[in-house]
Symmetry: C2
């Protein structure tokens, strides 16, 4: 919601749904740039200390952005002749724990909301925020509005939770890399989780996890379509993230190709193969508050093994230093080598569970393109490879075509 | 509080007071321009209906400005090493009635605030807002931050309520009109009330009334002085609005000259002098939600009387029309005449109560300047005249000098 014009369009869209007989609860995000503006002011005032020190006040500050956009949306709806009321998190009440700037929702009281819905009102609830037991304002962290929407949908047992974003759905892969990428009409919760964790920026992974936990059907659709498109058309647009493998599920074995070039790989070579080495290496990394993604340990040879993992590229130098100065001497390992110019490419698909040979097909396709695989990691519905980042686009396009994800030629 | 730099200076000033051993409660206003920005957005979304229709949501919207500045001030104080905590009105709780956009404070729960003060924290409370019985956010109307500060000072039985403004105190008159105007060290509550109602923009009249009701000593002082001026000097700066006529009270008979050119005068001539005419005339004006200031009815002659009053200049045309089309025919009065080019000049002083001849001195001074008096209205501590607006500066300067208010030549 960037401008009065956009807020007005949101209001018209919501009013359209409400007039078609749907009880509507809307969870708006802050106006674009607002949260950054507020937190930027805070940063100017307190440049030296970490955010944690100011958690309570940062949350009180950041929460105002969604409060303002919620009230503005209520006004816009009322101006459209649609009864509407806005509530801050503490008014609903949305109870959270006390972890400022990254609170978790604990409970939602739906009584007030249900009464308003039954009275024919559109209910607007500030996303991204709640209140802890002490009556303090808390926020859920970036992307928290999506999480709020899903949690509220779960509490109200909503028919569907529509997430309006700046994309029109979930694609088989990034259309900027593969122009033939196809929008998926449905995607399973598990697949969405793998895609989100691979950096598909469509939805925050927390909101998908929440939806999975409470089995809230989520539809990702575009906020840029005209507000007055036919409601039946809009109801079927975007991508439905479904929790049931029903007959509507697309039956492709592989649903999409995810990729990510934000990672770096690090290998500790010649590690004595004794119990506890994984902890010795990764414990030190975790203590430095650095997240690790892929972890691979191969079988040992001559009592020595190689241990590899990936971290975010921004943490690469820090981890290399940590391993060389602290871990390597203690471990008696041979050497630490790393490479920040890698990428991770994954094939994701719930259909993989019942189909053998999918991974080997992936390796064959990459081999035919002359792409060397550096690391392999698999899960039930995903196979990931780490390759040289210069091959990323080539690999994604080749896999997208090989797994029949390209749009049919019309 | 216009910028991070200004917020930081406020924080340093507050910290100085706190470190000197004072328990400090701070009520910040929104960052300058913020409330107008928010309400401007609302206006764009709902241009046609009156604000009342959107009261609840306008309040939820406008309240965010003070919430943001309060959190920012808490962060700035913490960055200065001073423990601080911010509360929104609903967190204190500041209970108000349900009159959105112009709510009245009903009660303040000081328990949480006292506990924090006793724990050595600076407590920051959002001004301008509260919560009604239904848990809705309410705002107190423009200037409401001053009113909040006074109400909180009353609830906490504070030693003094310091109101930092863009002027350095209350003057004998507007220094832009009379360069010799002198800052008053103390002014009585009643005088301040008269000056505020005459358009001296130093303090909102509601906050002065509130201070009067609860006998909260108010000090008006400048927010532009350096934060690190000596604390004893700062504690004596500005103007103290006092509720006791003690020996420190300046003993001038007239404390100041107030003036106002926002008004217009209207006279209904040849009104049959029968009971109820004042109500017939002013009832219609009040029904149109128009405020009346001076009201004068002179003695009757031949069973007819003239009835005059002043209204805000913006309402002049509307009132003239209302009287001519509705009231005049029903009343059987002769004529309605009016003049928008007038001004009101008042001498104000608690000393007038015990001094006769003050009003007549005022009339003599004006007569010596050749200024014709059109209307006269008096109260215990004020005498006001309505004159042609072109004489305003002349009248103010002459009265300021005649009543010995000019600064002594050093």
């Amino acid at each position: 919601m960037g401008s009065p014009e956009r807020i007005r369009n949101v209001a018209k869209r919501v009013a359209k749904w409400a007039r078609a007989g749907h009880q509507m609860v809307v969870v708006p995000s802050a106006m674009s740039g607002e949260t950054n503006r507020l937190l930027g002011l805070a940063k100017e005032l307190a440049p030296t200390k970490p955010d944690d020190a100011y958690g309570r006040e940062l949350d009180a500050l950041a929460a105002t952005g969604e409060q303002a956009s919620s009230a503005l949306l209520a006004i816009a709806l009322q101006a459209e002749g649609m009864p509407a009321v806005s509530y801050a998190g503490w008014q609903v009440t949305i109870k959270t724990n006390n972890a400022y700037t990254k609170a978790r929702i604990e409970s939602i009281d739906d009584e007030r909301v249900r009464a308003d819905l039954d009275a024919g009102k559109v209910v607007i609830i500030t996303g991204f925020q709640g209140m802890d037991d002490g009556g303090n304002v808390t926020t859920l962290g970036r992307g928290g509005s999506d999480t709020s929407a899903v949690a509220i949908a779960a509490a109200l047992k909503a028919h569907e939770c529509l997430i309006y974003t700046d994309v029109d759905g979930v694609y088989t892969t990034d259309p900027r890399v593969v122009p033939e990428a196809r929008r998926l009409k449905t995607v399973s919760f598990e697949e969405m989780l793998e895609m989100a964790s691979m950096g598909s920026k469509v939805l925050q992974i927390r909101s998908v996890e929440f939806a999975g936990k409470y089995k809230v059907p989520l539809r990702v659709l575009s906020s840029f379509t005209d507000w007055n498109i036919d409601i039946n058309e809009e109801a079927k647009s975007g991508t439905l993230i479904s929790f049931e493998e029903d007959e509507n599920m697309e039956q492709a074995i592989v649903s999409g190709i995810a990729f990510n070039r934000d990672e770096a790989k690090i290998s500790v070579l010649g590690v004595p193969d004794t119990p506890g080495i994984a902890y010795q290496i990764l414990g030190a990394v975790a203590d430095a508050n650095i997240e690790v993604d892929v972890i691979i340990q191969n079988i040992s040879k001559d009592g020595k093994t190689d241990f590899s993992f990936t971290v975010h590229r921004n943490d690469y130098a820090k981890v290399m230093d940590l391993l060389n100065t602290k871990v390597l001497p203690a471990l008696g390992a041979q050497e630490v080598v790393g490479d920040a110019k890698i990428c991770k490419v994954s094939i994701v698909g719930i259909g993989m569970r019942s189909h053998v040979g999918i991974a080997s097909k992936m390796f064959r396709v990459l081999s035919e393109e002359g792409i060397n695989i550096q690391m392999i990691s698999t899960s039930e519905i995903k196979t990931s490879v780490v390759i040289d980042e210069k091959y990323m686009e080539l690999a994604v396009r080749a896999l997208h075509k090989a797994f029949d994800l390209d749009q049919p030629i019309a």
